[in-house]
Every structure is written in structure tokens, then in C-alpha cells.
Subunit: 344 residues, 2 copies
């Protein structure tokens, strides 16, 4: 999802490419694959890995090689905590995102792929791993399986397990795809799945404000106010995502399980009140399980699970604090008002 | 959905049948139709109308003519506030529930059908109308359009409008049916719609308790713990509901709009905290709009929108108070602990 072209200082070093890897997966045997990455920022600067939702990718922000805005552009602009003028930002395309693996993929596989990528790029240790949604799950796996590869983890809108209700919600999305595939209506099925997912990413409060119009009658059927928006979201998704890639990454969220006690690095869990996929109770369980390594930050947002894409100012303020923590700087708790900081 | 056979005192008077009616509808012209009803209880006793969700029907409880348990059996057993030994209980099949109308149906049409039914049965005024979910919407329309036909209304888990988020959720269910119908996979579409709906009727808390098992791999695909339950719910629904009936009644929820100021009778709005279809904010708006006619009762339940089917003891305690109100009895607020009574 690349939007407008953004001016970027061309002094920034940027590389993208792919590394050939052999990945022993948990459920799909040993696979030869190419791990596509993008790395931007001054040579020698600390490296921060940024990972997003299952439909995110390696292009997180505009850089000298690719001036298009990235999916996390608002968090990487000049002056932000993740400003690539000061840090090297690394990101990759998720294993399976190209649709080449039609078998169960696991977040542990993604974490192992991150470790292989770091090996290939000669990066011993990440300054931090910042993961949103699926990226948070991958970060937790990385911190459990390869704790020596990162100094700290920021896990936003993701926990140590898939909640059973959220898992059921995703399972029904996959059934919508299967129903479409049953009769060669693949695009309609994937579109419906995406629309149903949109309801889980957002909140009733947002819909109440945006779509408070009476329904209309269209060809003898009722059409409600949100349908234009949902149809457009479905169509945009179908145009850029393969059904196989989406199905396997969706499943992979539901396979996700990490024992919080095995997470070996300082971890900040950012939970959004109103997130319909990751309930606060799971974020709290995760932080409890992390013990001394864990702390919890709570955001309130009417954007629910999608807050990380929409509340960029507040997420940035929060990251600024977390990325400075441990550098003999005063506690950032009082530097920003919106996020409610709760140390656990 | 009729369950086990229940012993009933055969002294109770019971009638069921149908009346022929001509109904001018809001969106489907003037229709000749048969309104099927059931009436049970001693001749001359006050009449209480009971109406449920869109897949409920006229058989609310076992009676001398039909000993099968009804959909509201737990609320009509001996000793309950709605005990048919003391009251006559009237119920009907919703207009369109037989699948005979493939055009938009409105809750106002349902309310007008109730008025026609009362005319035909020679019932001037109902002691009360008790509506759950869709039944609450129909009750509000009845109280706005025909206030002389009921002394009071109890509206459980329903408000004066469809919330935009809930409307979007239903619209996607209808799209699942359309996707199935596209290629003659009607049953799969309706089943998927029902499964989507189940997520809106229940809560994450309930799913968290019931389905907290790791997913399994089945034919190379991930299957989550709730899928057996959801599949069964879908299959049971498909076996008893026609797609046309369901589609038109689902639409009818989204067409629903009542101006609370036009509701002309004392109305108790029962809202369930955690209901994912009827947010508390809409229940509060409704009660505000009702002015002196309105009061709000709040239930907490992990069953969300389906609390009226599951929390029968608490609903009964609440009804006992409401049906006695105005009869010079002490306020029932202190008679039960679970429901949180808030007079507005």
C-alpha cells in the first residue's frame, strides 16, 4: 500500500534486496526461500527492525532507493523516534507473503527467518525490534528463540497467544475465502474476508461516528452506510494480496504461542483499550509472564487494533521513551500525556 | 428450536392458529398474509405479548396444544413472572418468517401486524409487551404507532436504531449469503452468515473460557477450537431457516428507526453490558429520548446479546419487578441483587 511520493534526503544510505536462505519450518518441512529486505539509514548506526501486520512489507518508509511512502511512513519521518537519519531501519517481507508456500507457516518460522537475515547482513544484534500486530508476535518469538539478537522489544497490539474469540473471527474469514474458491469466485471470497477483518481492526465507536446515516434501498435490498467503505477496502485488498499468502499468514496468527517466561529481553507491551482482537486481559497475562522483563503501556484509541497505523503521534511519543530507556535518561513517563504508562 | 418435551398442566387454555390480514407495508406494498399466533393461559387473564429474535416464533413455551419446550421456556415455567397459569401469553411468527416475502420488511410492518392480530383476537390492550432483541424493536414500534394497545413495554437488548457497526456486521452476513447464492452454494453461505452472527451474539469472555485449546492441523490447514461449535451452529440454522426469510428479517433490523419521543407508554429498557450489537450508549440515548416514560436496567453478562436466552433467572427477577410496577407494590429494586437497577 504505497501512497504519495515523499521527498527524502538522498544522503541516507539505503539497500534492498533478497538473501537466499534454507529455513527449517515447524509445519512445512525445510524450505529454500528468498528473504526480501530493505535497510535504510547511516552506515554504522544502530539497527532497529520494524515489522507490521500480515499485509505489511519491507518498505516501511520512503528512502533513497524508493521514494514512495511506506506503510509506517508516519513513524519514520524526520524527527521521529525511528528517524532513519539516526538509526538504520530494517524490515522484510514475511515468509509466505509472496504466496509461494501453501502450507502452515508459524511465527517461529518468521523469527528464524529474521535471524537468518541478520546473519546474512552481518548484524549481530538489533538495538530494538518494534513490532505491530503480527510483527509483535514475530518479535516475541524472536526474543524467545534468539534473545541474543535484540537488546529490547516493543510489542504493540500483539500478545503471546491468539485469543480464542479472535481466532474464531479469523477462521470465519478463511471460510469466506474457501466459499469463494469453491465456485471460482475467489475475489469475492477474499474481499468478504477482508471486510470482515476490517470490523475486527476497528471499533463500534469509529463506525458510529463515520457511518451514522440511514440505510438506503438499492435494487430492492437494504444497503447500510458502511458498505461503500467496506467494499472499497475489500477491492483494494484483493488487488494487492494473494489468497494463498493471506490464508497462510492468517492461520499463522492462530498457531502463534510463546511462553512469556522464555522471552529473554526487556519488553514493552503496548496494548490498546478497545482492541477487539487482543484483549487487555491477554496483554496483562503476557506482561505478568514476562516478569522483570516486562512492562505495560496502555493506549486508548477509537481505532482499536489499527491504532498503530492511525495514532502515529502517540505511538511515536511512546517509542521515543522506550528507545531511550536504559540510556541514563530520565524516565519518559512524564514526557507525554496521552499514553497511560503503567509499569508492571 | 424445540427441545425436550415438558410436562404442562393441561388445565391451561391454549389456542394457536392464523388470521388472514391485509397489511400495508412500508417498502413492499400492501400484502395479503396469514399471521400465525399462539395464545396460552386462563381465559380472561391479562395478555402479555412475548417476542424474540428474528429466528424466534410463536411457540414460546410448552402448552396443552404443543408440549414441546418453546424458545423462551425458561422464562415461562411455573412460578415465573410470565407463568401462563396467571397470564395469557401471546406470540406470533414474524411477518416474512415463512420466506413468502422477498422484499424489504420493516419493524413498523411487524408492529402493524401485531395490531391487526390484536383486533382479530378481540384484545383491546396488552398488559405488557416483552420484547427481546428484534422483539424489542417491534415493541418500540408498537409503542410508537399504537400506544393505546399496550400498558407497558419491556425492551431487552434492543434500541431505537441499528448501530452502524452492528449494521455493517449484518451487511457482511448478508454478503456471505449472496456469495453462496452466486453459485448455488446457498447452504454454505447461510451457514457462514450464521457463524458470523454467532460472534456478534456472544462475547470474547465466553469464547475465552469455552475454546481455550490449541488449534489443530487438519488436511494441511489450521482449525481453531471454536470451529466445531460454529459449524454445528451453522448447520442447525440452515436446517430450520430459509435464506429469504433470514435475509429480509436481517435487513429489517437495519431499516429500524423509532423516534423515542413518540413512544407513548412506560418503557423499561434492559441493556446488557458487553452486548456487541446494542452498545450501552444507544440504550442510554433511547432512555434519554423516552423522557419520563423511560427507565434503564443494566445487566452484566458474559453472554452479551444472547443474555436474554441464557440468564433466565436474572431476566425473570427483572420482569417480576417490571410487571408489578404501578400496582401499588413496593419498588422491586431491592428484591434482586444481580441486575443493576438504574432509574433514569
Amino acid at each position: 500500500m504505497r501512497a504519495a511520493v515523499t521527498a527524502v534526503p538522498d544522503v541516507l544510505d539505503a539497500r534492498h534486496g533478497g538473501i537466499d536462505a534454507v529455513l527449517p519450518t515447524r509445519h512445512a518441512g525445510t524450505r529454500k526461500l528468498r528473504i526480501a529486505y530493505e535497510l535504510a539509514g547511516p552506515a554504522g548506526a544502530p539497527v532497529v527492525f520494524v515489522a507490521g501486520g500480515i499485509s505489511a512489507h519491507r518498505h516501511v518508509a520512503a528512502n533513497a532507493l524508493d521514494g514512495d511512502a511506506g506503510w509506517a511512513q508516519g513513524l519514520l519521518d524526520a524527527g521521529r523516534a525511528l528517524d532513519p537519519a539516526n538509526l538504520r531501519i530494517l524490515a522484510f517481507d514475511y515468509v509466505g507473503a509472496d504466496g509461494s508456500i501453501d502450507a502452515p507457516i508459524d511465527t517461529a518460522d518468521q523469527a528464524d527467518a529474521v535471524a537468518l537475515l541478520l546473519d546474512a547482513l552481518g548484524i549481530d544484534v538489533l538495538e530494538a525490534f518494534v513490532g505491530y500486530s503480527y510483527g509483535a508476535l514475530v518479535g516475541l518469538q524472536l526474543a524467545a528463540r534468539h534473545p541474543q539478537r535484540l537488546r529490547k522489544l516493543v510489542a504493540v497490539s500483539g500478545a503471546h497467544r491468539a485469543h480464542p474469540y479472535a481466532a474464531a473471527w479469523r477462521a470465519l474469514q478463511r471460510k469466506a475465502v474457501a466459499l469463494g474458491q469453491l465456485q471460482c469466485a475467489d475475489e469475492q471470497g477474499l474481499s468478504l474476508a477482508r471486510q470482515f477483518a476490517m470490523l475486527s481492526y476497528r471499533t463500534p465507536e469509529e463506525f458510529g461516528e463515520r457511518f451514522d446515516a440511514a440505510p438506503t434501498l438499492c435494487n430492492g435490498h437494504v444497503r447500510v452506510a458502511a458498505e461503500d467503505y467496506l467494499d472499497a477496502a475489500g477491492a483494494k485488498f484483493v488487488a494487492r494480496v494473494s489468497a494463498t499468502a493471506w490464508l497462510r499468514l492468517s492461520e499463522s496468527i492462530d498457531l502463534h504461542r510463546v511462553d512469556p517466561a522464555r522471552v529473554g529481553v526487556p519488553t514493552t507491551v503496548v496494548a490498546v483499550e478497545g482492541d477487539r482482537l487482543v484483549p487487555m486481559s491477554d496483554a496483562v497475562s503476557l506482561v505478568e509472564g514476562l516478569g522483570l522483563n516486562g512492562r505495560l503501556r496502555v493506549l486508548r484509541s477509537q481505532y482499536g487494533h489499527d491504532a498503530f497505523l492511525k495514532e502515529t503521534d502517540r505511538i511515536d511519543a511512546l517509542l521515543a521513551g522506550e528507545l531511550q530507556a536504559g540510556k541514563q535518561r530520565p524516565s519518559p513517563v512524564h514526557d507525554y500525556n496521552d499514553p497511560i504508562g503503567v509499569s508492571v
